[in-house]
């Protein structure tokens, strides 16, 4: 039996979410009303996922729900902002209660982990499309921008980029992995990305610039450089490659995936030389691995080095069309 919009929201999206004291009016009126703390700015991002474009059409609904929120949390992480509230615009071809229940669970579990309240939403009939808007706060003037990198700053990346792209390849059958454990680990990195919210918060006042790696490390670092009006040296031999990626794909493919593959939702950020130890302590505090992979220079462009020798990104396996 079809259920109406109101009942649908009530059943799957009204319970189990974070209850925040700063939500004056939540779901159920014409709009939500929330309180932004004095001395803070509001940080706003929106990301849309389309089935078959941003995730494989048959992906498990709990993973779709997780992903829809994770990609938005990742945007706030890159700003050093603390997530507070979100809205969910959900377009569904039909109301399948089992699907919705699991979607809501994946979404809710990640929201709870970050104490994010769902304050509004909209369900409409149509091809599966999920648009999430995330709202967070940051002390006034403290947001980490893409544009703050300066010559001499060091370039860092969190985690092990390339894993998610390998995971997607495994799911789609375009690549394989001899060891089931490697395959599982890589698939999980695609299916359940970890937005680096705590790392972003810890880097406030330390990082000079940041971006989240959604389109691929090379492409996203380039965006940061363009926004900052800078260039960089990138040390390919310092790219943090996971054991699972290396063992299953071999060195050349692993490096190519780490440079070009998207969907990692790691942070790529820059740190002035005199704050490097502060950055390393901050990352250790939140138990997030970071690796120094380059240096900012005034000369525009991204120059790759391997064992101290200049190499072209293309020769290193960078794929311009993978992003």
């Amino acid at each position: 039996m079809p259920i109406g919009e109101f009942e649908l929201i009530e059943r799957y999206f009204s319970k189990g979410f974070a209850q925040r004291n700063d939500v004056a009016i939540g779901v159920g009126d014409d709009a939500a009303v929330v309180q932004v703390p004095t001395g803070s700015e509001l940080v706003v991002a929106v990301d849309t996922l389309v089935s078959g474009v941003h995730f494989p059409a048959g992906m498990a609904p709990e993973h779709v729900g997780h992903r829809a929120l994770a990609v938005n949390l990742s945007d706030l992480a890159a700003m050093g902002a603390s997530p507070r509230w979100c809205t969910l615009a959900l377009t569904l071809p039909s109301v399948e209660e089992r699907w919705l229940e699991n979607f809501a669970r994946g979404f809710r579990e990640l929201a709870l982990r970050h104490d994010v309240a769902l304050i509004g939403g909209d369900t409409t009939r149509g091809p599966l499309t999920i648009s999430v808007q995330i709202l967070g706060v940051v002390p006034t003037g403290a947001a980490i921008l893409r544009s703050g990198a300066e010559p001499g700053d060091l370039v860092f990346v969190s985690g092990t980029p390339g894993d998610a792209a390998a995971g997607l390849g495994l799911i789609q059958g375009t690549i394989s992995a001899a060891q089931p454990d490697d395959a599982d680990q890589l698939r999980q990195r695609f299916l359940v990305p970890t937005p680096r919210v705590e790392l972003g918060l810890a880097l406030r006042g330390i990082a000079s610039a940041a971006i989240d790696v959604s389109d691929g490390l090379h492409a996203d670092l380039n965006k940061l450089l363009v926004a900052s009006g800078m260039g960089a040296e990138l040390y390919l031999d310092r790219l943090p490659l996971s054991r699972a990626l290396l063992d299953s794909q071999g060195f050349a493919s692993a490096r190519r995936l780490a440079l070009s593959g998207g969907d990692d939702y790691e942070l790529c950020f820059t740190v002035p030389a005199d704050r490097v130890s502060a950055a390393e302590r901050a990352a250790a505090t939140v138990a997030c691995a970071i690796r120094r992979i380059g240096t900012i220079e005034a000369q525009p462009g991204l120059r790759c080095f391997d064992g101290g020798r200049p190499v072209s990104a293309d020769a290193a396996g960078y794929d311009h069309f993978a992003g």
Copy 2:
């Protein structure tokens, strides 16, 4: 030639929008950063339009752009909030530059009229779906809720409900109009709805409750009553029917459309008896016609009267399935 996401945003959505001093970081970083004034609360709404569901598939793109923002502005109007910023998540089957240009124009013109800045967005490939999130502000505690109606409050509606539904019927060919002028006027009311932002602001501190009329007057007034835990008498002979609606559709159909038709984006609101003249002055100040159409009562339910005699809503033409 296909153009990329960045170029697309740059070309159609970066220029001509309101430039606001409270936007610290606009489009182009991982997220936007804005300043909510001290003493204000943040008001948030999101509404999604799907082609063929929320508007006819071939609707002119400037009307789609206008509508996508108007329905969201209408939500803020119903809260008495002042719109400030918005984000746009646009899913397009293909990049048709002419379509985009006109869509952006319709969206932008309405945004400019209300001094709303576009601070973020996302363009994705897929079936035409437009999700707008609107952000506004209201002095702390001053938002007009659905839940504030009290016994003895008077029920008002702005404008002439039913016109938009007639306009849609004319566009779809399900109804006709003898006079071209009537048809034009009604079609315009569907194609270019006017969100009652100024009226909502003027009613702050005066109205006890409000909702915007998107699903139909009967249905939306009922939502307000349920949220308030109240009932109401509705005086059908006081429904403000436009001359174009009456002349083209006749009395019975006009009343049915006014009760059941959606898409008007008028405000339905309640006012304590001792503030009625304040409400009338407020509406006159913003040049918006309002009409008293009912009275709130403690007894739940919506009771219709015609010339002082009780009548059922169904007998008066209310269509439960039109919403």
